[in-house]
Amino acid sequence: MELSNWIQLMIGIPLFGFLISLAVSERKETLLSRVAFYTAGINLLSTLIFLVFWVLQGGKDLNLKEISIFKNDHFEFLIDFFFDRVSAVYLIVGALLTFLITFYSRYYLHREPGYKRFFNTVLFFYLGFNLTILSGNFETLFIGWEILGLSSFLLVAFYRKNLLPSRNAIKVFSIYRIGDVGLILAMWASHHFWHANVTFLDLTNAQRVMEQQLGHSGIALFIGLMLLLAAAAKSAQFPFSSWLPRAMEGPTPSSAIFYGSLSVHLGVFLLLRTYPFWENQWLVRIFIGAIGLITAAVSTTIARVQTSVKTQIGYASLTQIGIMFIEVAAGLELLALVHFAGNAFLRTYQLLVSPSVVSYLIREQFYRFIPKKKREGNTWENRLYLSVYVWSLKEWNLDRLIHRVIFQPLKKLGHKLDFLRYRTLFLYFIPSYALGVYLLVTGYTLPNWLHQILPAVFAFVALLMVLKSFTERRSIRLAWTMLWMNHFWMVLAIAENENFALSEISMYLSGVVLFGALGWMLIRWMIKLYGDLGLYTYRGNVRKHPVVAFLFLLAVLGLIGFPISPTFIGEDLLFSHIHEDQFVLAFIAALAFVMEGVAAVRIFTRIFFGVHSNFDDSDLLKSINNS
């Protein structure tokens, strides 16, 4: 029997289960939970059988031959699967926990509005998880990665009619997207690094890796660091830690499986998976170790001052993941794997029993209370202790740091375009775009220095538009249109850069045009109903218009290049046209891509999630419009 074919089953079963669960009616609780239960159950069973065969056959690394999705003369998009002991551990832990959680949630979520949504999302998440851990190349991994990001967003915002879950869902999604910058740039750089579509199997060929790295140590270092960025964001490592506790907004079992166990350990997975690549780069290893060490040190202090049970578990888990980073950096793969499995089980269990903490600890306190010693006197140690205490309570200002360093500068840039209005947008857009096209056509007559920087300039315009959309509050329509338009500038930038075939452009733009138009029409429909209320607050329209909300989500996903839209492959294609030495252009493009995701999801969340006010809020609107 060809073992590698079994891998498809691990993807197929969750995919199939997910699709069925979509089709089941909301009212059929039993059927829904059964679908989830059997999907997870059958998958667990087949995983176990598969693992037995795999071990019997020597536990060798498996590679499932690639499937080509898109191909032209210089670019190919491949789906590829790979299996080794790292996948094995993640697979079995994931299968077991998902099975337990579906069983658990069947009763726990009984009668909860959103029962169906919950199981849909969990199965979707599970599909993304398996895709990620079984992926054989970066492209496949990225698909799984994106699914994880989206399903996390949906589960954090499970109570989408409340403010805090909605707000925190955007926060989690934004940090995930920052991680995506790393992954995209790593993918881009490795295209150039290998001059071929490299699979993870290729990475295990130590000699080949060594040879390649000899002449390209700079780019190799870059790839390593970008992978670290992706891993750190996904695993909530320093300085991204503060999203993790805020992700605990959904029902307890979803918090347990996502942020206690599976999702949060995927950064570690990414590092383990790419270990052969950066194994010989001591600088990368030091960075990984250092990030791990700082995270462990910082989160353990934060965990110590937490007074809520879920955030305490979250930070305690982070501390351990920090240590896992150190273990991975030290090359202790097996230890890291054992550590991962243990930590995942421990935190899942702790989260699931977290409501019991009240009665348990109160009983402990009742029978065993010893008043804690307080600090007295103005000694140096006391001052230091109190300082650490206060800093830990403030979570070492990590949240503010991210905001200051990343989002605030971007917002500032976005505000540069504040003069734009929806009605006047085209007055600026058409002439400038025409100028761009003109420059493109006549490009060969331009002075060389100008010609060289034009792609970056165009890309920067695209980025500005995205950032404007990200900061826009007054008009939904304007925000959406800017997002839509940015792609055209991006195409212009790449076309300026290199010969961008029409078929490639259409590949890229087809999804943009289609989904952009869908979103635009839905917004138009909403505006007809309510007027353009802007994006000042969360409007909670999902309550009244669930179908529109779903369609708009599709539009958002299509526009931002989620793997349901040809734009997803288009993005990859686009990056393949950015040259090895064009770091600036690559960075701008990646940033635009990522911020586009954040901006689009922000628009979606503000329109559809949050508290829906039944009250007549015309007063409020008046006061907003007057200011």
Partner: protein, 831 residues
């Protein structure tokens, strides 16, 4: 409370006083006691109170009008009753109003006044103060009050919250504030709220509105602080705190943020926008839509009450036999015992059951073996002078390593993740696939060690101002009071059971709300055992005889505890029974076992996820399992569906099926000619049952603001409360899972006694009169001489004749299997 007629602007102290009055009054989780959620409005008639609460705070006290119409179409609101309600209100215009109710009227929701003033920061300055301040403020508060979650507990001994902040600010390198002016303010030992409000608000007439806006942006935390200020003993690890401190701190944080954003020159909000605090408390006029809702709600309520009264009327009084029953059993008045008693009377027709508040009239603090604190074992408002201590040799405390704080540290956490982690996997699989009892469970039977001994008799010992044990006379007082209240003064059976109750659950933060309310949210085991012991004591019997209650020597009292979740009974001190009673008891035990099986069947009909096609025993096992299944958010339904409190003889209700919706308090009007016993009963039953009922009512009507919402995302804060997620406010009220099957109707109190006497009792107590005359409960008297009902309306009793007919069933059993919904009142012959 003089809120509505103030001529001058309210002073800061007055505002604080008003705030404390309006904030939620919910104690920490371990002391959860039901109370009227809208207690602040109880001085107003019910519907006006709801109206004001809606205008002021946006609280919802009604169903939506379409929901009422659905109930009408489903027959849950009955046509004749609706007609009667409308005629009572509008006389000849009833038909016009009927059209309004059925067709024309539409819900109108206006934005509440609360929050409007402070919203200008956000709307006009685009500055979201709450977003910036709340998370940090909640974290500080929670760190200060934490009872044992954090590993580094709050490091300083402080005189209050603000003092703690001052010490932190002074003693550390890290600053809590950034604005120089705020730090100076903080360091001023005479810092007063007026000076801060002058900076923030500017105009004294707006101070009150501003502070209400500010504190009601997080009513959960503010309410908790206010409760802890008044009852500091609610925290075992005590922390002095006051609402004023919290407000001072919050104002400082606000000034700090505003300074940071706008520099020190910003203009106080009250000088830009004018809001008069007085207007916040203005009572709006009842509008048409309010009357429509009121009529719908009343019709909804009387549709059920009418059935109940019709049922009581249909009971055929049987000739009272003079024979002594086989045994007598006293249960708590709790609605959950309503069915237990009914089944017991079917299975042993020759027994008599009684209902009385489950602390059995003995009030004390209890200290179990190894316990470092006392727990109150009597209704919450009572302050006992007695202490009962337990000594138990073989007591062990179960523990679970998963809650050990080492799990959260760095190095030990690393060791544990690799080892304990895999043990967790095993436990997780085990606990999910085969739930079983564990250290995580709250079990009512563990409250007291049944093999331990209790210090019931006074031996001359005092402790912390409490008398350890009772003197003979004190015991006799309590037993006499108990027996007189239920009218059991002669005809004593050889065996008299005193059965307290408690509940068991796991993963349940609101566990205290499931136990006996009359025992301050604890299981009633100690009280049952103590009361039985007292009643068995020879000296007490002698004393009682002197007071006219002659209990035969062969009569013995036996305490027990009914676990209402698992439906199990544990008896205490069975070895003390004499031989004859011992053998009687053995027979009764089997009957009790059978009762519990049947009772669990009756409860099982409400559990949606439970398969019903099982044997009786299998069903009971499945019900038991809910108590320790981690994934079961509804171990039992607690007081859900409660609607009645009936104070009467059991014979008056013979054969009536109330579907576990009634608090039943035994009372014999013939033995209480002066109404003394009744006054005592009502003084306890009205606030306790009314409080339970209204907490369910409001948590069901407004799960977002008055209830705790769904419990699934709850996160435990400092062991004192729950919040949604990491940065949310504390949630008050009941989780939606507890109230989802509750029909939100007020409590109807039915008392069997002469109307004149009842009138005298009610008007004799201002507190009771407020409940009744403002209709926060409905009050009906059953005149035992005529068998007629009189209903309290506008300060007097008016006769009431039920219009519904009650169905007579031979067997209840079939009805129970078929439906999950509330069942009507039936007159039944047997199970």
């Amino acid at each position: 409370m003089n809120l509505y007629t103030t001529r001058e602007a309210m002073g800061v102290d007055e505002i604080l006083h008003a705030l404390k009055h309006f904030l939620p009054a919910q104690a920490p989780l371990k002391d959860f006691v039901h109370h009227n959620t809208l207690h602040a409005f109880q001085h107003l008639p019910f519907f006006q109170g709801i109206k004001l609460a809606g205008d002021q705070f946006g609280y919802k006290g009604f169903l939506s009008i379409p929901e009422y119409r659905v109930l009408y179409r489903e027959g849950k609101i009955k046509g004749p009753v609706l007609k009667k309600v409308l005629e009572d209100h509008f006389g000849e215009q009833a038909n016009t109003w009927l059209v309004k109710l059925l067709d024309e009227a539409q819900d109108k929701l206006t934005a509440p006044k609360i929050g409007k003033f402070r919203a200008h920061w956000r709307n006009d300055y685009h500055f979201n103060l709450d977003k910036i301040i709340h998370p940090f403020l909640f974290r500080l508060l929670s760190a200060y009050l934490d009872q044992g979650i954090s590993i580094w507990s709050f490091p300083l001994e402080a005189k209050g919250f603000l003092d703690a902040i001052r010490q932190l600010q002074e003693g550390s390198f890290s600053s809590i504030f950034t604005s120089k002016r705020v730090i100076d303010l903080l360091n001023n030992p005479n810092l007063d709220l007026d000076s801060l409000l002058e900076i923030l608000v500017g105009d004294p007439k707006s101070y009150g509105w501003y502070l209400f806006d500010q504190q009601f942006a997080h009513p959960g935390w503010s309410g908790m602080v206010s409760v802890l200020e008044d009852q500091p003993e609610s925290l075992l690890d005590s922390k002095p705190i006051s609402l004023k401190d919290l407000i001072l701190m919050e104002c400082l944080l606000e000034i700090d943020s505003l300074d940071k954003k706008f520099g020190e020159g910003w203009v106080p909000l009250g000088l830009q926008f004018s809001y008069d605090t007085e207007q916040l408390f203005e009572v709006g006029l009842m509008e048409e839509v309010d009357l429509v809702r009121q009529c719908w709600q009343e019709a909804y309520e009387w549709s059920y009450y009418d059935e109940v009264l019709a049922g009581i009327q249909a009971v055929v009084p049987n000739a009272e036999s003079s024979a002594t029953p086989n045994f007598q059993a006293l249960f708590c008045i709790d609605d959950r015992e309503c069915s237990t008693r009914r089944h017991l009377e079917y299975i042993e027709p020759n027994c008599a059951t009684y209902g009385t508040p489950g602390f059995f009239n003995v009030e004390f603090y209890f200290q179990p073996e190894f316990g470092k604190f006392y727990t109150k074992s009597c209704p919450a408002p009572v302050t006992p002078k007695f202490l009962i201590k337990e000594t138990a040799k073989d007591k062990k405390l179960a523990s679970d390593v998963h809650f050990h704080q080492n799990n959260h540290s760095l190095v030990r956490g690393w060791m544990r993740a690799q080892t304990l982690g895999f043990w967790s996997a095993v436990k997780l699989v085990g606990n999910i696939l085969r739930p079983s009892s564990s250290a995580l469970e709250v079990s009512s039977f563990h409250h007291m060690d049944p093999k331990g001994t209790l210090s019931i008799e006074y031996q001359g010992e005092e402790e912390n101002g409490l008398q350890v044990g009772f003197k003979v006379e004190e015991m006799a007082d309590r037993i006499e009071g108990l027996l007189r209240s239920i009218g059991l003064l002669n005809g004593f059976s050889p065996l008299i059971y005193l059965i307290g109750h408690g509940a068991s659950s796991i993963n349940n933060t609101h566990y205290a709300g499931y136990d006996c309310g009359a025992c301050c949210g604890r299981p009633g085991s100690v009280n049952a055992r103590v009361a039985a012991y007292m009643a068995n004591l020879d000296e007490v019997r002698v004393e009682l005889k002197l007071r006219g209650i002659a209990i035969p020597t062969e009569t013995q009292f036996l305490g027990g505890l009914h676990d209402t979740t698992k439906d199990e009974i544990l008896f205490f001190d069975e070895e003390g029974l004499n031989a004859a009673n011992q053998s009687l008891h053995q027979i009764n035990r089997e009957k009790f076992a059978r009762v519990l099986d049947v009772n669990s069947l009756e409860r099982a009909r409400r559990f949606d996820t439970l398969a019903k096609n099982m044997s009786l025993g299998g069903l009971h096992e499945a019900v038991k399992k809910r108590a320790f299944s981690l994934f079961e958010p509804r171990p039992e339904y607690n007081h859900a569906t409660n609607a009645l409190c009936i104070v009467s003889r059991k014979s008056t209700l013979k054969g009536l099926f109330f579907d576990r919706r009634a608090f039943l308090n035994s009372y014999d009007y013939r033995t209480d000619r002066e109404g003394k016993a009744l006054a005592k009963i009502l003084a306890a039953a009205i606030p306790v049952c009314g409080g339970i009922n209204l907490e369910y009512y409001f948590s069901r009507m407004d799960p977002d603001k008055l209830g705790a919402g769904t419990k699934l995302p709850h996160n435990v804060m400092g062991l004192i409360g729950v919040a949604n997620g990491a940065d949310g406010d504390l949630r008050t009220g009941l989780p939606y899972q507890m109230v989802e099957i509750h029909d939100p109707i007020r409590l109807m109190m039915v008392v069997e006694q002469l109307p004149e006497l009842v009138f005298q009792v009610i008007t004799g107590s201002p507190a009771l009169l407020e409940w009744v005359t403002n209709t926060w409960i409905h009050f009906v008297v059953l005149d035992p001489t005529t068998g007629k009902f009189l209903r309290w309306m506008d300060g007097k009793f008016i006769s009431y004749t039920p219009v519904t007919a009650v169905e007579h069933l031979e067997h209840l059993h079939d009805k129970l299997i078929g439906s999950q919904n509330n069942l009507p009142v039936y007159l039944i012959d047997s199970f």
